[in-house]
Structure formats: structure tokens, C-alpha cells
């Protein structure tokens, strides 16, 4: 009778373990998929930039330096290796693009060009997608990390060597810093 009871309890424990293990595997796959989504969007951005530069070149001859910087940043980003490296280079690219768009404000004919408008929409959408893909990745990675750190699921996670996933962070200290806004009334 007691033997049967012990056996039943062990069986319950086994089922619980299997459930936990499967949950963790599912989450790990979702995290990996989330990471790939970010890559897909980054790749898309790299593909769009040569198009953009070619389209605006005719209008912005005097800004050759800025255009070169964008291309350089783009090429550096495509060859980046590792998370931290990729993050810095992608940020540099974002900055270069920002300067290009700021300069484009000085060229009314450029701004009115339908092709440029569309490219700008595509690029800003891609920027958004990168942001949202990161946001989703962080959400799902947090869920994965919580699932393996809470007791008693952490026993299962430890047994099968699950590792907490890294979160996507703002690597640049300047980006993290809160902008200082001076609200005092100056005479």
C-alpha cells in the first residue's frame, strides 16, 4: 500500500518534471526565434541603405562626406561579429542615418521626391521593426529566465543545463543617460 503510494508520488513528480522541461524547451526556442527576428530586420536595413544613398546622391552632392559615412557604417555593421560588436556598429549606423535625414531637411526638392519619401518610410519602419523585435525578444527572454529561476522549476533547469538568456541592452552609456532638460526661465 505504502509502496503504491510512493510509486504514485514518484510518477506525479516525473510528469511534473516532463511538463517543466517541455515548457523550458518551448521558451528557449521562442527566445532563439525572437533573436532571429532581430537579425532579419537588421539585414533588411542593410539592404535598404545602398538604395537610399543612390537615390539621394543626385540631390546631395555637397554632402558626399555624410553619404560616405553612412555607407562606411553600413559596411561595418554587416561584418560585425558578436552581440556587443553588432550593437555598437548598429548604433553608429543609426546615428549616421539620423544625420543624413537631418541634412535632407535642407533640400526641399529631395524631400518632395516620391522615391525618397518611400525609402524614408521603409527605413523608419525597419528601425521600428528592429526596436519592436528587440522589445519582443526581451519580453520572451525575461519570461524564459523567470521560468528557470523560480523554485522549484530551477531544479529541472539546473539538471538539464538551461542558461538564462542575455537581454538586449543599450550598450552606449550616452544613450542610457537621461537627457538633461533645463526648465529654468532665462532672461
Amino acid at each position: 500500500m505504502i509502496l503504491l503510494l510512493v510509486f504514485g508520488l514518484l510518477l506525479l513528480l516525473l510528469f511534473w518534471g516532463i511538463g517543466q522541461y517541455n515548457k523550458l524547451v518551448t521558451l528557449r526556442n521562442q527566445v532563439q526565434n525572437g533573436w532571429k527576428q532581430i537579425d532579419v530586420q537588421l539585414k533588411r536595413r542593410h539592404d535598404l541603405i545602398p538604395n537610399l544613398v543612390n537615390t539621394v546622391k543626385g540631390y546631395m552632392q555637397y554632402e558626399q562626406e555624410t553619404l560616405d559615412k553612412v555607407i562606411q557604417a553600413r559596411n561595418a555593421a554587416t561584418t560585425a561579429s558578436g552581440v556587443a560588436d553588432a550593437a555598437t556598429k548598429e548604433n553608429a549606423l543609426t546615428g549616421a542615418l539620423g544625420r543624413l535625414f537631418a541634412l535632407a531637411e535642407n533640400y526641399p526638392t529631395l524631400k518632395a521626391n516620391e522615391n525618397v519619401k518611400q525609402l524614408q518610410e521603409e527605413l523608419s519602419s525597419t528601425e521600428n521593426k528592429i526596436g519592436f523585435a528587440r522589445q519582443f525578444f526581451n519580453d520572451i527572454a525575461t519570461k524564459f529566465n523567470i521560468a528557470q529561476q523560480v523554485f522549484p522549476a530551477n531544479i529541472i533547469a539546473g539538471m538539464f543545463g538551461f542558461r538564462p538568456s542575455e537581454l538586449f541592452e543599450v550598450t552606449d552609456a550616452a544613450e542610457r543617460a537621461v537627457p538633461h532638460v533645463d526648465l529654468s526661465l532665462k532672461k
Binding site: 521603409e122 523585435a133 519582443f136
Partner: protein
């Protein structure tokens, strides 16, 4: 105000259960109407010689099978019916005018981690939007032309995020089923009341002579049910949609992390006051804001809770602004 604090999984399973309940309730209700017809036919035919009390409840079985088919259709094909009734057409993929809309939908499906829904365009100048379908893999978002024209990119994104939350929470399944059942209930009651009037003229004298007590009460319940059915189904539609709007506002803002854009969009949608022509009454509860611009939706309290499909826009905007202050 009581915002029921449910997490997304509880909300999903709650919606799924409620959908099944609505469908079962519908089949039973129609069966009851058929049962009444059986009683009516056998009751009025008792003293005549043909068919002394129908042994098989033909009308009950017939009604229930028709209702079963109707319920299945509404569950699997309800989105098509809703889209067709609002004259929505698929957005042309390559049209540069709708490129931004398509991009925004892409962005929000990435943010929600869901497959990209089909995007439809309703040819109407009043800004409005709705989502329909049975699950995230079979979902559609429809927006009016007016919405695309009047809203900024951020506002459009906020509206799409709101609709994406309806999809993620399985609100769309429940609301679509309710929308397509409302239509069926209206048809049935129309048919039923006609039968009653027609039958009452010929069989009235015979049954009054007999005056069976139990049967009379049942008939009374039946008639009341028949008359109240459209009202009850409307009330149901309103009850299911009000709380869900608040929730979709909140989780939509969570996707964009920009509650103020949704507040601005809601303001624009209400300010454009002409009623949406293309969206019919039966699917009003699916929309982000009441397409009919009914007064009941602007008030609060018991009566408004009963009559309005949407919470007051001012209140929604107020809550969204509060979210923005909280998050900085």
C-alpha cells in the same frame, strides 16, 4: 471603476470558454423556439383529427440542426461575413498609399509576436477600425479609408496595436461569433413572429376553446423569448465588448509604449462625428469606437453599461494619459 485584473492567458481562456457558452446558448435558445412551435402545432391540432399530437418534435430537431449549422458557420466563417457586410476589400499590396499601413501592421505583429493578419480596407470616410477572425493565425484587421487619411503614423500604429491586442486576447473569436449570431437571431425572430401572426389568425379560436393551463404559460414564455431575443442578443454584444476595449487600450499601449498616440487617435476618431456608413449595426461592437456615434456610449452608470457597446471615449483617453504620466 473595476478593471478586472486578468493576465493575457486568463483572458484568452476566458474568451474561449465564453465563445463556447454563447454558441451552446444559441443552439439551445433556437431549439427552445422550435420546441414552442412543436407545442403550438400539436396543441392547436389536438381536437382536430389529423396528427393527434406530433410524436416526434420535428420543429425542435429542425431548429436545433439549423442552429448548429449556423453556429458552426459563425465560428469558422464569421469573419468573412463581417468583412463582407462592411464591404471591406483586401488592401492592394503594392499601392504606395497603403505602404505605411502595411508597414505599421508588420511592426505591430512583430511587437506582439504574432503572424501578420490580413489587412482590409473599408471604403468609408469616417475613421474607424476593427479586427475579426477566429484565432491569431486566421485574423484580419480592417481600417476605413478615412482612418488612413486622417491619422499620423504614430496614431495609426496605436490603433493597429489596439486591434492586435484584440487578436492576441481572442476577443476577435468571441466578438465575431456574437456579431454573426446577432444576424441569425434577427432572422429567426422575424420568421417566428410572422408564423405567430399567421398561425394565430387561423388556430386562435380552437386553442382558446381548450385553454390548456400549462401549455398557455409555456406559450407565453415562448412568445416573450421570441420578442426579447433581438434585445438580449444586442445586450450580450454590448456586455462582451465594453471591458474588452479598456483592456485592448492598455495592452495596445504596452505594444507601442506610446499611450498618448492612442489617446490622440481616439480623439480624432470621435471628433470626426459623421456615422460610419459601411459598418453595420450588427458589427458595431467590433470597432475601436462606436461607428454609429450613439449617445449612450458617452455616459456612465447602469443604463450606459446596459446600452453602450463602448466605454466613454473621454474616460479611455483619461486612462491612457494616466499611463503616460506613470511611465514618464
Amino acid at each position: 471603476m473595476t478593471l478586472t485584473a486578468r493576465n493575457i492567458y486568463e483572458q484568452q481562456s476566458h474568451n474561449k470558454t465564453l465563445t463556447v457558452l454563447v454558441l451552446v446558448g444559441f443552439v439551445l435558445f433556437v431549439g427552445f423556439l422550435g420546441f414552442g412551435l412543436d407545442m403550438y402545432l400539436s396543441g392547436s391540432g389536438l381536437d382536430s383529427d389529423e396528427g393527434a399530437g406530433l410524436p416526434i418534435p420535428v420543429a425542435t430537431i429542425l431548429a436545433m440542426s439549423v442552429a448548429g449549422v449556423g453556429a458552426a458557420r459563425s465560428a469558422f466563417n464569421g469573419d468573412a461575413a463581417v468583412l463582407a457586410s462592411s464591404t471591406a476589400v483586401p488592401v492592394p499590396e503594392d499601392d504606395p498609399r497603403y505602404r505605411q499601413l502595411m508597414n505599421v501592421v508588420d511592426e505591430m505583429s512583430i511587437a506582439a509576436g504574432l503572424p501578420r493578419p490580413k489587412v482590409y480596407l473599408v471604403p468609408d470616410q469616417d475613421p474607424n477600425a476593427f479586427a475579426t477572425g477566429r484565432d491569431p493565425a486566421h485574423a484580419s484587421i480592417a481600417v476605413t479609408e478615412g482612418l488612413v487619411e486622417r491619422l499620423s503614423r504614430d496614431e495609426l500604429q496605436a490603433v493597429v496595436a489596439h486591434e492586435m491586442s484584440h487578436i492576441r486576447n481572442y476577443d476577435i473569436r468571441l466578438m465575431t461569433v456574437v456579431a454573426s449570431l446577432i444576424g441569425t437571431v434577427l432572422l429567426i425572430t422575424e420568421f417566428g413572429t410572422r408564423m405567430l401572426r399567421f398561425g394565430g389568425a387561423t388556430a386562435g379560436k380552437k386553442s382558446s376553446k381548450k385553454g390548456g393551463g400549462g401549455l398557455g404559460i409555456l406559450m407565453l414564455v415562448w412568445v416573450v423569448a421570441l420578442i426579447l431575443a433581438p434585445v438580449i442578443s444586442q445586450l450580450l454584444a454590448m456586455a462582451v465588448s465594453r471591458q474588452r476595449e479598456f483592456l485592448a487600450d492598455a495592452s495596445g499601449a504596452e505594444l507601442t509604449r506610446n499611450p498618448l498616440a492612442l489617446a490622440a487617435a481616439l480623439q480624432k476618431i470621435t471628433d470626426a462625428d459623421e456615422p460610419t456608413q459601411a459598418i453595420k449595426k450588427g458589427s458595431a461592437h467590433l470597432c475601436i469606437a462606436d461607428p454609429l456615434g450613439r449617445k449612450a456610449n458617452e455616459r456612465e452608470g447602469f443604463l450606459a453599461d446596459l446600452m453602450g457597446t463602448h466605454p466613454p471615449v473621454e474616460k479611455r483617453i483619461m486612462l491612457l494619459k494616466a499611463m503616460a504620466y506613470q511611465t514618464g
